[in-house]
């Protein structure tokens, strides 16, 4: 058994058959981390002692014959999640050394399965970014090419899963933060319907767009993770009481007659040729599996980036206000008055991208600008959502590239925030619409500035609460291809 290539499903079977213990799996995980994470830097904090105890508890449960799908499975947790007793900085200096005081339903539901939480994975500061370069604790490196970014913001989680340091990891997706790093690292990533998994206990970026989810090696594993985490909770008022299907039920069912929409707006000039080719081949593969391909249009897509970058900073500017060093977080002691206290601590604590978003958002919400920016953006957001609603009257799912390029070089977009924002060009509209979307590996492409082939991801988008359908399509594609089986060689 090679830990690096283990899936949740595979490990779970071994655990149940007593061929391996959770303690051994956990040791393997830490051994792999020790060996490789010095180069990748996917984990920010490791919790060996807690993980050891969790593994023991899992083994006891397995011994009693009470193991579930995730019992004993070593997982990575994105740093913006609160896990009782764990540190949680959301990769920001303003929460340096902060320890979680509680945890929310997503973690509690997982905990009830007795998995093993290895530690916290790197992210852009407060999940704001598309490369993890905005982390205050160093950049994560893409396991496929260490000179390149893993994508972001869940870059730590995607890199850790891709490098086989854990079997799956938790992420969040506000504008592509699960899908884009999954695309760049060759993992499976599901952005769930807004409200499918409660956000309570996860440090937010932009409340109306944030979603909770996982990054896994296979679609099957994703179904297992979602099954545990999905469902409403009274502590998050934005979680509708939608039925929770058996997310594995449609896996293995064929997709004959499935209508797949391909929007012309998602194949744009300037995108990496190999990416376009891989995605188009992926679409052909779906056709071979019996799907019916339909050309469609999502005309408001072109406004998604500007709309996103008004709504996000607006909500960010308000969500970040509680980080004032009054009650928690490091603080400077020599401020002369309250204003100076705020200026000094927030000035020191937030990185450049946070400051940029806070300033843009503060401006966009100011009287005199609010109508022109925030209200206008919300109106266009409605049009973007209607674009999708309209499209789903004619098709079952929509397929697009997840990212216009494969992984870019570390530092390549650092001086140009706009270029960085465009990395999410194919993903942000999905968050604005609230619908779910799944990234599955669909090929490899060699970028013009590189020598290695890098993973390409395909995004499968569905109507609200159609995660089971997306998993069905993703699984059918995965079964027909071998892309997900290729592993990064460090």
């Amino acid at each position: 058994m090679d830990f690096n290539v283990l899936t949740i499903k595979g490990a779970s079977a071994l655990l149940k058959n007593k061929q391996v213990s959770s303690r051994e799996l956990t040791q393997d995980a830490f051994a792999a981390i020790e060996k490789q994470d010095g180069q990748i830097h996917s984990f920010l904090t490791l919790e060996k002692d807690v993980a050891g105890k969790m593994a023991e508890a899992a083994d006891a449960r397995l011994a009693a014959g009470k193991g579930n799908a995730l019992t004993g499975i070593p997982l990575g947790v994105k740093d913006c999640y609160l896990v009782e007793g764990f540190k949680a900085f959301s990769a920001s200096k303003i929460l340096d050394n902060y320890e979680s005081q509680y945890e929310g339903p997503a973690i509690a539901r997982l905990r009830a399965e007795s998995p093993v939480f290895l530690g916290k994975t790197n992210t852009d500061e407060f999940t704001c970014g598309a490369s993890t370069e905005n982390s205050a604790y160093g950049t994560t490196h893409n396991p496929w090419d260490l000179d390149r970014v893993p994508g972001g913001s869940s870059g730590g989680s995607a890199a850790a899963v891709a490098a086989g340091l854990c079997l799956a990891a938790l992420g969040t997706d506000t504008g592509g933060s699960i899908r884009q790093p999954s695309s760049l690292c060759g993992t499976v990533g599901l952005k769930n319907t807004y409200g499918r998994i409660p956000r309570f206990g996860v440090i937010p970026m932009a409340s109306s767009l944030d979603t909770i989810g996982a990054i896994t090696k296979t679609v099957e594993d994703m179904a297992l993770m979602l099954q545990v985490m999905a469902g409403p909770d009274s502590r998050d008022a934005t979680t509708p009481n939608a039925p929770i299907p058996n997310y594995s039920a449609l896996l293995g069912k064929d997709i004959k007659g499935l209508k797949v929409g391909v929007p012309k707006e998602y194949f744009v000039e300037g995108m990496e040729a190999g990416v376009e080719q891989s995605v188009r081949e992926g679409i052909k593969e779906l056709e071979k599996l019996g799907a019916q391909i339909v050309d469609i249009s999502l005309p408001y897509t072109k406004y998604a980036i500007p709309v996103y970058y008004l709504i996000v900073p607006s909500e960010v500017s308000s969500n970040m206000a509680r980080f004032d060093a009054m009650r928690y977080g490091p603080r400077s002691k020599d401020a002369a008055d309250v204003l100076e206290f705020y200026l000094e601590n927030r000035g020191m604590g937030f990185g450049p991208e946070m400051k940029r978003r806070i300033m843009i958002g503060t401006h966009a919400l100011s009287s005199g600008y609010y109508d022109a920016y925030y209200i206008k953006a919300q109106k266009v957001r409605t049009l973007i959502r209607q674009d999708f609603e309209q499209a789903f009257k004619n098709v079952d799912v929509i397929v697009t590239p997840t990212s216009p390029t494969t992984a870019f070089k570390i530092g390549a977009k650092n001086d140009d925030p706009l270029q960085m924002y465009l990395a999410d060009i194919f993903t942000v509209s999905i968050n604005l619409a609230g619908v779910p979307a799944l990234n599955v590996p669909c090929g490899f492409s060699q970028p013009a500035d590189g020598e290695r082939e890098l993973p390409v991801g395909m995004q499968i988008i569905g109507p609200n609460f159609s995660e089971d359908r997306l998993l069905q399509v993703g699984h059918a594609f995965e079964q027909a291809t071998e892309w997900h089986q290729r592993k990064a060689q460090i």
């Binding site: 008022a237 934005t238 607006s314 206000a321 509680r322 004032d324 919400l365 609010y370």
Partner: protein, 497 residues
């Protein structure tokens, strides 16, 4: 030219709910150890989200209905963004452009005049934490502690139109708001616990001689608006309004400055010196960067839900007083006093239900007279006192049936009020029963006549008014227990008057 004060009131009242507005912490925090009634939500910890306490919405709607407000079908919460150490999230969840209660009114009586005060809106928000300003006794260094027990307590802000013209109107309006929210059990509005706070907006209208103004019309010109924040008592409210009216007239006479966009100022109230103090000048539109609270879905208020709440509202004091006056033949002004507090009104209901008009009148007379005096002395509401409705009824019956005189009633009252004894038992134990036995009274009358031959002669010799002297002697002899009207009548008969 004349000066016309223009006053608007913002009244903050903490709503009565089990738990806080957006989390499940207890909302009753008075007297509790600091920071013991808190959770990740009301502490503003990272990752915590608000969830709506339906009871807070319900209490808000109930107040709105009691104030004649329209309750819209759609409402929502907004974030009011500003930094302050007692604001744990850096924003307050409040309501901006779609408040739960809109366009109501309240009729008030002030200076003998009835006036309708329009209410612009009432919106639901969360209270902030409490700042405790301390000084280190050794180093003398001052510092501030934050107690988050109050953070997140549901708070209703009721905003009047600038319809108030005098301190008396402002005071009557504020007192009536308090009475109503207490009546419908939406708030305890206990001022000593800080549950009711006022902000006043005052300016002085400069009314030209030829300017004709309706009751709620605003003069064409007025002085800059001054907001005085955080008044914690009716006394402070009244003093602050008075002070501002005088101060602004004086200021205007010196500067002749009129209101224009941007010259609104905020002042604080110094309770010791009884003056307002300049705090800040502020821009016309405060920069609170309001935007819809993305963590909470919009509120939908089903019509049948609102109507159900309306139908379940208890009778308001005004209607209650009217009903009492009509059913029991009381003066409306007396009835108003009797129902001023809901508990007292219910108490009186218990005493009065099913009783004759005469008896109810007798009860009201005592309740508003000697009993009210006693209660005031002891700072009690009748419902909190030892007097029971049954005992009041008993007292009134004893008087009505002639068993005791008013004088005796006064004599036994302390025992009834202070010890909670039944009037009957006090009368019996003290032997104070009024003597209405003709034979017994006659004996005493005869004795008095025999002892006061001189006066008898005067009476019969053309000075009939002297008969009262004889009556007085009879009363004295019977230690006040003889039935006075009977004594009078019998004595006059004996004297042949």
């Amino acid at each position: 030219m004349r000066y016309q004060p223009i006053i608007g009131l913002e009244i903050h009242t903490q709503l009565k709910t089990q738990s806080k507005m957006f989390c499940s912490c207890a909302s009753q925090y008075f007297g509790k150890e600091p920071n013991t009634q808190t959770c990740p939500v009301c502490l503003g910890l990272p990752g915590a989200l608000p969830s709506i306490n339906q009871m807070g919405v319900e209490q808000t709607v109930r107040v709105g209905l009691a104030l004649g407000c329209t309750i819209p079908e759609e409402s929502k919460f907004d974030r009011k963004n500003y930094f302050y150490p007692d604001l744990v999230k850096g924003y307050q969840i409040s309501q901006y452009d779609m408040p739960l209660c809109q366009h109501g009114y309240l009729d008030v009586d002030a200076l003998g005049k009835k006036k309708r005060i329009r209410i612009l809106r009432a919106h639901l928000e969360e209270d902030t934490a409490k700042s405790l300003h301390e000084k280190d006794p050794v180093t003398g260094e001052s510092y501030t502690l934050i107690d988050c027990n109050k953070s997140g307590v549901p708070l209703l802000e009721i905003v009047s139109e600038p319809d108030l013209r005098t301190m008396e109107e402002a005071s009557a309006y504020a007192r009536k708001i308090r009475q109503i929210v207490r009546y419908i059990d939406a708030s305890d509005a206990d001022m000593e616990k800080g549950q009711l706070r006022f902000d006043i907006n005052v300016s002085i209208g400069i009314v030209e001689d030829d300017e004709v103004l309706g009751e709620n019309d605003l003069p064409k010109q007025h002085t800059p608006i001054v907001e005085v924040k955080n008044l914690n008592s009716f006394r402070a409210l009244e003093k602050a309004v008075d002070f501002e009216i005088k101060r602004q007239i004086e200021e205007y006479e010196q500067t002749h400055e009129l209101y224009h966009a941007g010259n609104k100022t905020t002042r604080g109230w110094d309770d010791v010196k009884e003056v307002t103090v300049h705090q800040r000048s502020k821009e016309e539109a405060s920069e609170y960067r309001y935007f819809p609270e993305p963590d909470l879905p919009p509120l939908h208020l089903a019509r049948d839900y609102v109507e159900k709440l309306r139908s379940e509202l208890p009778m308001l004091p005004e209607a209650k007083a009217k009903q009492l006056a009509e059913c029991c033949g009381l003066k409306l002004s007396d009835a108003v006093l009797l129902v001023a507090e809901k508990e007292d009104a219910n108490w009186f209901d218990q005493a009065a239900t099913g009783q004759s008009q005469v008896l109810v009148g007798e009860m009201a007379k005592w309740l508003l007279g000697d009993i009210a005096f006693f209660l005031k002395e002891n700072n009690l509401g009748v419902s909190q006192s030892k007097l029971t409705p049954e005992h009041l009824r008993e007292l009134a019956s004893l008087i009505q049936s002639g068993e005791i005189s008013g004088k005796i009633a006064k004599e036994i009252l302390p025992d009834v009020l202070e010890k909670g004894l039944s009037p009957k038992s006090v009368v019996e134990s003290k032997g104070l029963k009024q003597v209405s036995d003709v034979g017994e009274i006659e004996k005493v009358i005869d004795a008095v006549i025999a002892e006061n031959a001189k006066i008898v002669a005067q009476v019969q010799g053309g000075k009939p008014e002297a008969v009262m002297f004889l009556v007085g002697h009879v009363m004295k002899k019977t230690r006040g227990q003889a039935n006075p009207p009977m004594v009078q009548e019998m004595m006059r008969k004996k004297m042949g008057l």
